[in-house]
Symmetry: C2
Subunit: 182 residues, 2 copies
């Protein structure tokens, strides 16, 4: 008989690993330590030539039916900017070009960091991806303010509006071509 | 006998979970899915009143013996700025005040995002924490350029030097007091 009498449980026990200073989730069956880390959401305020902003109405929970910016969890082995471009493609079939980091938001309750870029929409041809019920380009006055999905969507729109000019300082990203040096 | 003939192995098998579109690490014993996410490093270029910059010589691998900025993995339930303050405290017993986001670096090979702040050192009294062999305050001309631990330390120092002025645009962080709205 190869099956254990009790099936393994996964990392559900809290313990302080040797040499560490705080509790981690540990699997009592095999000792695997699940180091939980904050998660990164990447997204963009993407703007068409005429100033209209790309937004998506959510087809899935949380906040199904409410409007958001294209954004989602960053994946392994991509840059934050690549992740934001991927999310615009997945959620609105939109091609965007990243301009600069607009904002970095921390949401400690959710252990989440959101990195939001300012971006140019390269074509007004957009379409719903599987997570969107509707996609649209909104003038500032037409933004569905009463049906916004998350506080950070409102923050990002406000920060975008405050920083429409070119500005002379933006948060920096990797020097071109240097990521490969690691 | 309660022990399985073969001990559980933890999430070491690669498979595409139902409804997902890419491979994840799965535990073949209990089905636990280990969603691997990029990790966040938070750190600071922290400057004393006279312009000298706080640096730490690493007492541990990787790059033991080389100089770095105070930085490390962000923990759960803290903001990026709180994490950068904690790292300065842990690595150099330094009290710092965050000014603004200086840079956001992506290192896709390591699936890492580094969020580096510009900060003020509140006191020149610094001391080695357990991960530092030496800590110091460096004038620009005295920075140990030949013994820098990581490329992003060089990037951050360069970006700091480029943006010494107040500037009129910085990447934004949470509106004051609004993180609790989530």
């Amino acid at each position: 008989m190869n099956e254990p009498a009790n099936p393994p449980r996964g990392p559900v026990t809290r313990a302080i690993p040797e040499g560490d200073d705080r509790e981690r989730l540990v699997c009592a069956d095999c000792g695997f330590i699940d180091y939980e880390n904050p998660k990164i959401v990447v997204g963009a305020v993407a703007v068409w030539e005429d100033g209209r902003i790309l937004m998506c109405r959510r087809a899935i929970p949380p906040r199904k039916g409410f409007w958001t910016l294209p954004a989602g969890y960053m994946e392994l082995h991509e840059t934050a900017a690549e992740g934001a471009m991927r999310e615009a493609r997945e959620e609105a079939c939109a091609a965007i070009e990243i301009e600069r980091v607009l904002a970095v938001y921390s949401i400690p309750r959710l252990s989440q960091v959101q990195i939001i870029f300012r971006a140019r929409l390269l074509s007004p041809d957009i379409e719903c991806g599987p997570e969107s019920a509707e996609v649209g380009l909104f003038e500032w006055s037409g933004i569905p303010w009463r049906d916004i999905a998350f506080p950070s969507v409102r923050w990002a729109l406000g920060h975008f509006d405050e920083t429409r000019g070119p500005g002379d300082f933006a948060a920096r990203t990797n020097p071109p071509g240097e990521a490969g040096e690691y």
